[in-house]
Amino acid sequence: MNKSRREFVKKGAVAGAITAAGVSAWLKDQGIKEAGEKVKLLSQDGQLIEVDKAFLKLHAQANSEILAKNTMGREGIPGRKFVMVVDLSKCNNARKCVTACQKMHYLPEDKEWLNVKLMKDNEQSAPYWFPKMCFHCDNPPCVKVCPVDATFKRADGLVLIDNQRCIGCKFCMAACPYSTRVFNWDEPDLSQEVKDLPYSPETSVPSQHGTVEKCDFCPDMVRKGKLPDCVTACPNGVFYFGDEIEDAVTNGDETVRLSELLRDRAGYRFMEDLGTKPRVYYLPPTGRMFPVERGFKDLTEEQKERYKDVNLD
C-alpha cells in the first residue's frame, strides 16, 4: 500500500473514532446529561464532527482531571473487550516496542513492562523472538490474590493496578505465572513534573515506590482512539490491537477481522492449559520475515548476554 493511501486511511480511521454517536454513548455512561446543543469540533486530523456541548465542557476541564478519578479507572470503556494479537513471524527483536513503552510511562531503561524473550520450544524446533506483556487474563491469577483490591479486572477486559491502593505485598507477582509484573524497589527516579502528573490507573504514571506495576494496554490512549505505543512503534507491524466485540484488530497499517486472523493464521494463547484465559493471542512463527540472528544485530552486550542459554542451532 503506498504511503499516501495509508495516510489517508489512517486519517479516516482516527476521525471515525470520535463520532457523535460515540461521544453520546460515552456521556451517557458517565452519567452526564447531554446539553442537547451541538457544537462542531475539529478532531486531531481535520475531521469536523458534531458533538454535544456537554462533552466540550468536560473536555475543556482537561482530560486528565476526568481520568484521575479512580472510579473511572475501574469501570472500563463500555461495550469493548480489548484484545491483542502478536505476529511472531514478523518479530526480529527491534525492541522499538520496549523503548516506546518505557518512554511513554517514564520507565528507566532496566525496567521492562514489555520484554522480548528468545523462546525455543524444544530441541528440534527453531528459536523465535517472543514479545511478552501482560496478557490481561480473563481468569487472572493475580487479581484473585490481591488482599486490598489494588489490582482489578475491568469489564472491558483490562487488568489494571491502582498504585495508590497497592500495599506492596507482592502476592500478585508471585501468583502471575508469566512473571509480567515488576516492583518499585526504591523511589523511582522521576522529574518533579512527572511526579506532579495527575494519576489514574489508566495512565499508570507516575510510578510509586513500594508498589507493583505492569503493562496496562494504554487505556488512556485507547480512550482517545489511539493505539498503544508499542503497536505503533513496531517497525514490522508485529502487534495487532483491537476490540473482540467488533471483531477487528489493527497494527496501524493493516486492519483485519480478529476471527479471520486467528483462524487463518492458527492463533494460540501462551500456556493455554494454565486456564488463565489470556487476552493476547500469538500467531505462530512460520514463514518468517527474518532469520532469528537478525534480532541480535543492534543489541548491547548486556542484552545479548540474556539469551546466552538458548541454543541457536
Partner: protein, 278 residues
C-alpha cells in the same frame, strides 16, 4: 547604492523546491489538502516553510488558507468545505500551491482535480445483501455521466481504524457491487457504517462517502457489573457464608469465655485466703 542593488539581484540564490499535492474529500464533504515540499535537486523534505493554498478559476484566485510544513515536509490544510472550491461547469477545479517564504522558489504549482459523484446504496438481490456503489462524473456541460472502470474500496470503521471489506470495479453503468458481510458486528441494532473510497486517483484524488445500514450482526454487551467470582471485587456467596459461620462460631466461644471470666470475678469471696481444699 549600486552595491545594494547588485546585492538584491545577485543575493543568495533561491532554493528551488518541488511540491506534490494530495486532495482528500472526506465523507462529510470536507476537504483536506496535503502538500509535500521537497528540495528540487536533493529531494530532501523542506521543513518549517509556509505554504499558501489557492483555488483558481480562470483569473480569479481565492485563498484557501496557509499551512506550515513539518519535519517531513508535509503541510496539511484541513477543515475546508467543498463549496469553497471554485469549480467550472464540468466540476473540475484547480488548486494552486505557493511557497510564501522568499528564500525558496516554487513556480506556483497548479493541480487540477475533478469532482466525482459517488453514491452508496444497499440492495437485496436474490436474497443476497449487496452494497451498490455508483460513480458518475460530469461532462463539459455539467451533465452526469457514469464512470466505468473505476476502482472503489469499501471499509467498515472500527475503533482505531477502517476494516477493509472488499473493493468494486465499476461497469459501463458506473456501478459496482460487493456482497455485504452479514456476520460483521455492528452496534446494538446491528447498525454498520460503510465507507466507500476512491484512492490515489490522478483526477479525483482521494474521495470518501459513507452510509449506514442495519445489516450488521446486532451486538449486546453485558453491563459493567462483574459477576461474583474469585477474580472480581465480589466474593462468591458460599465464601461469605463459610467465613461468617466460622467467625461467629469462634468468636462466640471467646465471648462466652470472657463472660465466664466476669462471672468468676463476680463470684469472688472477700476472704484473704484461697480455698485449697478439694
Amino acid at each position: 547604492m549600486v552595491f545594494a542593488t547588485v546585492m538584491s539581484f545577485t543575493g543568495h540564490a533561491q532554493v528551488a523546491a518541488e511540491a506534490s499535492l494530495t486532495y482528500n474529500k472526506l465523507k462529510d464533504n470536507n476537504v483536506l489538502l496535503r502538500a509535500v515540499l521537497t528540495d528540487a535537486q536533493e529531494s530532501e523534505p523542506l521543513a518549517n516553510i509556509e505554504l499558501g493554498f489557492y483555488s483558481i478559476q480562470d483569473t480569479i484566485s481565492t485563498s484557501l488558507g496557509k499551512a506550515i510544513s513539518n519535519e517531513e515536509g508535509v503541510a496539511v490544510l484541513q477543515g475546508l468545505s467543498f463549496e469553497s472550491l471554485l469549480q467550472k461547469q464540468d466540476h473540475t477545479f484547480i488548486i494552486a500551491v505557493e511557497v510564501l517564504d522568499e528564500n525558496y522558489q516554487l513556480t506556483s504549482r497548479e493541480f487540477t482535480f475533478s469532482d466525482v459523484n459517488m453514491q452508496l446504496s444497499f440492495d437485496e438481490i436474490d436474497s443476497v445483501k449487496q452494497i451498490v456503489v455508483t460513480i458518475s462524473t460530469w461532462d463539459e456541460l455539467g451533465n452526469l455521466v457514469p464512470l466505468e472502470e473505476a476502482d472503489a474500496y469499501l471499509y467498515v470503521p472500527r475503533m482505531f481504524s477502517l476494516l477493509p471489506i472488499g473493493d468494486v470495479y465499476t461497469d459501463e453503468e458506473g456501478q459496482g457491487m460487493l456482497e455485504f458481510p452479514t456476520d460483521l458486528p455492528g452496534d446494538l441494532n446491528g447498525g454498520l457504517e460503510i465507507i466507500a473510497q476512491i484512492e490515489d486517483h490522478d483526477e479525483f484524488g482521494n474521495v470518501a462517502v459513507s452510509e449506514s445500514v442495519n445489516w450488521g450482526a446486532p451486538v449486546t454487551y453485558e453491563t459493567s457489573k462483574l459477576p461474583r467470582a474469585l477474580w472480581s471485587p465480589d466474593a462468591p456467596l458460599w465464601m461469605w457464608i463459610t467465613f461468617i459461620v466460622l467467625m461467629v462460631g469462634v468468636w462466640f466461644h471467646y465471648g462466652w469465655v470472657l463472660i465466664n471470666l466476669r462471672r468468676i470475678k463476680y463470684h469472688s469471696s472477700d476472704s484473704e485466703l484461697i480455698n485449697y481444699e478439694d
